[in-house]
């Protein structure tokens, strides 16, 4: 499992997505949590377990819990079997099961993509896209999307520090922090758009979209194991689909 990091980028993506999407095919509300657990184990074997779980905690986990609670309380339908009631809110078994499906699937798919981007460098992704012959403009769009969030985070930190130096309270409870953050959202988004535009010109200045053969100092190669893994993943998905159609 620790060798997943060294796989070709597209192979890594196929492998992780195979694990990530299998809960969408298998009819069991707990499969999503099992595959999420498997992905977590992969992250630990690749030396980034703590970082990975921190990202999950700050992003997907809150959403998953929220989704589970909402589905448990607010699912509509006939013949619901209620198991608990708090004031006028009723929790049904069907709601819990639906919530488990949705949150499990979200955790599974989301974590597979998060892990992919954590164990694959931007340089490898760009090299993979170049090798595949993807249009440079498409490559740039993907690159810009990957970089946008970390850069917006850096900029928002800078804006918050600037606010703080002007005496605006930026730490404390969530209301205080929102009051400081909300006015800076518009300039943050606008400057991100401008920076993306300037970066496109920077790439143009470095002949990024020029036609003709390109050299690559950073080389990535597909090995036999990459091809084998690809076909195994495809086979797994096919078997799951067949089982879903004919057995489950």
């Amino acid at each position: 499992m620790s060798k997943i990091k060294s796989l070709y980028p597209s192979t890594k993506l196929v492998l992780l997505l195979t694990i990530g999407v299998s809960p969408f095919i298998i009819e069991n509300p707990f499969v999503g949590f099992i595959t999420f657990g498997l992905i977590t184990i992969i992250s630990i074997y690749n030396g980034i377990g703590i970082r990975f779980l921190r990202i999950i905690r700050n992003t997907l986990l809150i959403l998953a819990i929220f989704m589970l609670i909402m589905r448990s309380l607010f699912i509509v339908g006939d013949d619901l079997h209620y198991v608990y009631q708090i004031a006028s809110l009723k929790i049904s078994i069907e709601g819990i099961v639906s919530g488990l499906y949705m949150s499990g699937r979200m955790l599974s798919l989301g974590s597979s993509l998060i892990l992919f981007f954590e164990i694959t460098s931007t340089q490898d992704i760009v090299a993979n896209l170049k090798n595949t012959g993807v249009n440079p403009k498409v490559t740039y769009v993907m690159l810009a999307s990957l970089q946008m969030i970390p850069e917006m985070k850096k900029q928002s930190n800078t804006i918050m520090e600037a606010q703080q130096s002007r005496g605006i309270e930026t730490t404390g409870n969530i209301i205080t922090r929102l009051k400081a953050l909300i006015p800076s959202v518009t300039p943050l988004v606008l400057s991100s758009i401008l920076n993306t535009e300037e970066k496109a010109l920077t790439l143009e200045a470095r002949a990024f979209t020029i036609k003709g053969p390109k050299t690559s100092l950073h080389k990535i190669y597909k090995k036999r194991s990459d091809k084998n893994i690809f076909w195994i993943c495809l086979l797994i998905i096919l078997i799951l689909i067949i089982m879903k159609v004919f057995i489950w």
């Binding site: 970066k199 200045a205 470095r206 002949a207 100092l217």
Partner: protein
């Protein structure tokens, strides 16, 4: 020496490119007024032409027109003609990429000049060369030499995204230098640099002149503009208000009541009541004070 090293693109020797603008005017798509009004000027090979002027004068817009980013990327009403060596040039979305081999552009904002697709300064500088298909061994040699010449060797393994603004600016400059274009358009390359690094950049620009490169510089450090430039273009509100040697431009009456800055030495002599033979550099002013 830099001049001994460069000669990649031409087997026939030195290639000189002159750039000429004739009656160039431009208005952005949603703007009411022209941001450039009837600009005519020449850039000569082996010469440094500097554009000076207050913010909003149209300096960067002019630079982007020469490079072809306007109209390829920025729509608007562009009028007039652009010549490279007496050939009328029309750069558009289809051919703008081809001109990256011929025209190097260094932008004002260092934070957007790092591509983000490389993990080291070495790879960042090599990026342009990879795109134009230079052979791997030549890329390695060229980048190694550029790192040495621009004093960036100690940063070669650092992630360029982790560098300071000044370091990013130097890496961006080195990246374009490595591509060895015929024309350099350099937009405020020293805004984030300390005095020592600023001097290094200007030394490199001097070396590029000796290699017969055509250089257009946008710069606010007026004293350095006066010292190193062969020609100065003073712009204000989209117009060229003075164009010529540093001496003629900085002593011109036409820039007197505008926001165009002049060197401190020239200002000093003007305030002393001098009107003729005004010095523009430290050396000239010392010479004048000594009565040479």
């Amino acid at each position: 020496m830099l001049i001994d090293y460069f000669d990649f693109n031409n087997n026939e020797g030195v290639y000189m490119v002159n750039v000429r603008l004739e009656g160039v005017s431009f208005r952005y798509l949603i703007a009411k007024n022209d941001v450039l009004k009837n600009i005519s000027l020449e850039l000569h090979s082996g010469k440094l032409t500097s554009i000076i002027g207050p913010n909003g004068a149209g300096k960067t817009t002019l630079a982007e027109i020469i490079r072809g980013f306007i109209p390829a990327y920025f729509q608007g009403d562009l009028r007039g003609k652009l010549y490279f060596d007496e050939n009328v040039i029309s750069i558009n979305e289809e051919n703008v990429a081809e001109y990256s081999k011929k025209i190097g552009f260094i932008f004002q904002n260092p934070f957007t000049q790092i591509t983000g697709s490389t993990d080291s300064v070495f790879e960042e500088i090599a990026f342009g060369l990879e795109n134009i298909g230079i052979a791997e061994e030549r890329i390695i040699d060229r980048v190694s030499e550029i790192l040495r010449l621009t004093n960036l060797s100690e940063l070669k393994d650092r992630n360029p995204m982790d560098l300071s603004g000044g370091q990013k600016q130097r890496v961006a400059f080195a990246s374009i230098l490595a591509m060895d274009p015929d024309i350099y358009i350099i937009d405020e390359p020293t805004s984030q640099l300390d005095p020592a690094s600023t001097e290094e950049i200007f030394m490199i620009i001097s070396a590029l002149k000796k290699m017969h490169k055509t250089i257009l510089l946008i710069e606010n450090k007026i004293e350095l503009v006066a010292e190193y430039s062969d020609y100065v273009v003073a712009m204000n509100e989209g117009e060229v208000i003075a164009y010529g040697t540093p001496q003629s431009v900085f002593s011109s009456e036409r820039i007197k009541d505008t926001d165009v800055e002049i060197p401190v030495y020239t200002k000093l002599f003007k305030e002393m009541g001098k009107t003729e033979g005004l010095p523009v550099t430290k050396k000239e002013s010392i010479s004048k004070l000594k009565g040479d």
